[in-house]
């Protein structure tokens, strides 16, 4: 096998040997040797996650603490870098937000948690994209005031358990996790292992993300995989799951040249932050909110069966260029091609008929609202 040699300079996660044992096909991703699929195959892994529970190794993502004298100081310091409302976070709440640049573009998207635990009352917990983590951590560290510091977490794996039966499965290992609401986090023992558990994910399904000590990661993963409902899921299905859920993939659907307003992520910016600004590029974002944008990220449903991949041009009936597909492929649950992309604002309304240039042929499609599937997050409180 030449595969091992070709991947010598790649980093590995604590679950690497387990992936190989499970028969995964490994590929380089964001500097890591990661499983793109297991013997089940991308299509069935996707469908399994929507039917039961899928287990994902997301240990390549960047985990860090932001620590300071107290919550307000730390949240205030991070608010200088992101448009998300962090001061409003209740203990145990998670916020999806973006690191922005001075042009209002997106350096990365990330999850920020205010820990519920008293001994972490002066911290925020962040999870950033693998491909961006070194730059993100440098950027954040360089912009923290005296007394506030970023501490990368390098001794923890991160696994996600996603799907309609994820909560039932997880209840067997961590009973207190059942009552958690979506986008909340708690420290708890999972099968006796101290973990930070978030009820969150990036598949459009209910589920958990579990930050687990590196030394216990394989044991916990094997315990979860031993449940009849749980199958290991690779990056291939992770991508089709998030696309069906209408979620952005950094470097494709959002980047340093797309603003949160253009990316249709305005929902992640609270009224106070829209009014007060105070994050990089705020003036540009506020101007876009007030005056509108010229292009916007939308969902796109091709009419035929041919998938329209990233980079496919979008045009109107006369052939005028309207935009470009940023993510596209086959949606196994939808049972047909789906896509998202940026389109001229005059054509961004759901129901608008457009044409996609796939292999030299203009193929009809329409702008649709996302997600492409019904989301099934767990929320008990009103």
């Amino acid at each position: 096998m030449t595969q091992a040699a070709a991947h010598d300079d790649l980093k590995i996660t604590p679950l690497h040997a387990l992936h190989i044992e499970l028969g995964a096909k490994m590929v380089p991703f964001a500097g890591y040797d990661m499983p793109v699929q297991y013997p089940m195959g991308v299509l069935n892994e996707h469908l399994h996650t929507r039917a039961k529970a899928g287990l994902f190794d997301v240990s390549h993502m960047g985990q860090a603490w932001i620590e300071g004298p107290d919550f307000e100081t730390v949240a205030g310091a991070m608010e200088a870098l992101v448009p998300g409302d962090l001061l409003a976070l209740a203990p145990g709440a998670i916020r999806y937000t973006q690191l922005t640049n001075n042009g209002g573009g997106i350096l990365d998207d990330l999850m920020i948690t205010r820990p519920a635990e008293a001994d972490r009352a002066n911290s925020l917990f962040i999870i950033v994209n693998a491909a961006c983590k070194d730059e993100d951590f440098k950027h954040i560290a360089a912009n923290m005031p005296t007394g506030v510091a970023l501490k990368p977490i390098t001794d923890r794996a991160l696994i996600a358990l996603q799907g309609p039966t994820a909560a039932d499965v997880f209840a067997g290992f961590a009973p207190e996790a059942v009552e958690m609401n979506f986008m909340t986090a708690r420290a708890m023992n999972v099968a006796g292992i101290p973990c930070l558990v978030s009820r969150s994910g990036y598949t459009g399904e209910d589920g958990y993300e579990i930050s687990v000590p590196e030394k216990d990661a394989v044991a916990l993963t094997q315990k979860l995989l031993a449940h009849a409902d749980v199958a290991p899921i690779g990056l291939g299905a992770r991508d089709s799951l998030r696309l069906e859920a209408g979620l952005c993939l950094y470097g494709h659907d959002i980047n340093h040249q797309t603003s949160p307003v253009e990316a249709a992520l305005l929902w992640s910016i609270s009224k106070r932050r829209r009014a007060e600004g105070g994050f990089p590029g705020a003036a540009i974002v506020q101007k876009q909110i007030a005056e509108g944008v010229t292009r916007k990220r939308v969902g796109i449903l091709p009419e035929g069966k041919a998938p329209a991949r990233e980079g496919t041009g979008i045009a109107d009936e006369q052939g005028n260029v309207l935009g470009i597909i940023t993510s596209g492929g086959y949606g196994p649950t939808v049972g047909g091609p789906i896509a998202m992309g940026y389109i001229d604002i005059a054509h961004a309304k759901p129901g608008t008929k457009i044409f996609l240039a796939v292999r030299g042929k203009d193929r009809p499609a329409q702008v649709v609202t996302m997600p492409f599937i019904e989301k099934r997050f767990h929320r008990t409180k009103p």
Partner: protein, 125 residues
């Protein structure tokens, strides 16, 4: 007995008289993963050897299928439109793509026989 030949792009061609049935190999379907769409040419299209004859889309990506020989497309496998997964299930049989009327039988000599293709694939792993 029909004769099967292979290309280094993982197409197979089964020859009966001057008719070539063309598909992708089992190795190719395994590399592609789940096939979700196959775009086939119109019957009557003239295709030169090495030119694009079809496109096969898996969950992961789109891949071109090249004509192993030159000729006219005389039939396409319409079953693949409704069940593209047929390519994964029986790539060398019912998952065939097109039938062509071979223009120049000599072109077959440039293709690999089963043993050569087998060693070719082994060399790739």
């Amino acid at each position: 007995m029909s004769e099967i030949r292979y290309t280094d792009q993982h197409e197979w061609v089964r020859v009966e008289g001057d008719i070539a049935t063309i598909g992708i190999t089992d190795y190719a379907q395994e590399q592609l993963g789940d096939v979700v769409y196959v775009e086939l040419p119109e019957v009557g299209t003239q295709i030169a050897a090495g030119d694009e004859a079809a496109v096969v889309e898996s969950v992961k990506a789109a891949s071109e299928v090249y004509a192993p020989v030159s000729g006219e497309v005389i039939e396409v496998n319409e079953d693949l439109d409704g069940s593209p997964a047929g390519v994964n299930e029986d790539a060398m049989g019912s998952g065939w793509f097109i039938k062509m009327k071979i223009e120049d039988m000599d072109e077959l000599d440039k293709l690999m026989d089963e043993d050569s293709y087998k060693s070719f694939v082994e060399g790739l792993d």
